[in-house]
Amino acid sequence: MTVHDARGPVDDVDVAILDDLARIHDLLDPVPPGLAERSLFAMTLAALETEVMELAEVVTDPAGVRSAEPVPARTVTFTSAATTVMITFQASGPSVVRLDGWVAPVGEGVDVELHSTDGVVPGRADEDGRFAFPQVAHGPVSLVVRPVGGAAMSTPVVEV
């Protein structure tokens, strides 16, 4: 029997075994699709240096789960020490989602930006704190909330 010396150099058989191992691990535990893109998006948001709000609650509407709708309607709530943001997603087309939101308190006014891997869409809450983005493509998004005269905050990334 051949003795395989731990101090010996890595040879072609070792390389072939390692290649097989990498392939097996990719079969048994594949990297989730889009993980690198989600990471890059999160890095872009981190570079904004905003306070990140906490995900407080996710409610999925069972009535919204219909075969015609790829994404069930759901409501997500985020909080920080001073601010609450609630958003609802609803499918509005084959590959687009309508996002309705509400932010409190409104104070002197609140700008709300929708950040996605496609870029930034500016928006503003009305006097009741309501805002909407009618056409949001599937993928990771985050809202950046900028109260007038206050520090900006961002929500964690959610998949729409």
């Binding site: 029997m1 051949t2 003795v3 395989h4 010396d5 731990a6 101090r7 010996g8 150099p9 890595v10 040879d11 072609d12 058989v13 070792d14 072939a16 075994i17 390692l18 290649d19 097989d20 191992l21 990498a22 392939r23 097996i24 691990h25 990719d26 079969l27 048994l28 535990d29 594949p30 990297v31 989730p32 993980l35 690198a36 989600r38 990471s39 890059l40 999160a42 890095m43 981190a46 570079a47 906490e54 995900l55 407080a56 609650e57 996710v58 990334v157």
Partner: protein, 214 residues
């Protein structure tokens, strides 16, 4: 010596750029305001981070967050990383620590939620199902893969982790990976290392010569 020693590549002077080198270049470029190389590094190194985090036993959905968190931490610390050439080791160490922390918190949440069902002040907002793929027997269809996988299962857990990670790295980076996951230097490097030597011996012992003719 080994069967193919004369064919083995020269150690210590690989002319090609490794993942670790590209990471260093990416960090330096990012500091100069060029973000594209870091984007490429993220795309290339994310599988390595995924397998690092998963090999620490982090559930599927949580591991997704942990990997993103490592990259966010890199951006936050990019100005203070003193050794850009050690960035590969930096993200691996960060991934391992974040994986431990996530596992500890996840277990804490679970036991706390079980003990105090009403205590939901900062409770886990989402389910964390462990979406493991099907049993290995279904996924590994070739005889060769099954034999290799059975041999790997005979190794110590730390060796299994090490080989899982070096399997997707460039050879000159093996040492950084071994150090990052806390294996003694010499576990693997420009030399084969104990883990791979042990695996070869097991494969021989099991009477299979499927890799010998490569």
């Amino acid at each position: 010596m080994t069967r193919l020693a004369e064919d083995a590549p020269q150690t210590g002077e690989e002319p090609t750029e490794t993942l670790g080198d590209r990471g260093a270049r990416a960090v330096l470029a990012y500091r100069d305001g060029r973000t594209e190389p870091l984007g490429e590094f993220v795309r290339e190194a994310t599988p390595l981070l995924w397998h690092t985090v998963r090999s620490q036993g982090v559930p599927y959905d949580l591991a997704d967050d942990v990997v993103q968190g490592v990259w966010v931490a890199l951006v936050r610390h990019v100005e203070t990383i003193q050794e850009p050439h050690a960035v590969l080791k930096w993200i691996l160490v960060a991934a391992k620590r974040a994986a431990w922390e996530a596992t500890r918190k996840h277990r804490g949440e679970q036991s706390r939620t079980t003990a105090l069902p009403d205590d939901r002040d900062d409770g886990a907002p989402r389910e964390l199902p462990d979406r493991e793929p099907g049993p290995e027997a279904e996924v590994l269809t070739s005889e060769r893969d099954r034999i290799l996988w059975a041999a790997v299962a005979e190794l110590a857990p730390r060796c299994q982790t090490l080989l899982r990670l070096v399997a997707r790295a460039d050879r000159p980076d093996y040492r950084a990976i071994a150090e990052a996951i806390g294996m003694p230097v010499g576990s693997i490097g420009s030399t084969r290392g104990r883990c791979l030597a042990k695996l070869r011996t097991i494969l021989d012992h099991n009477g299979d010569d499927l890799w010998g003719q490569v």
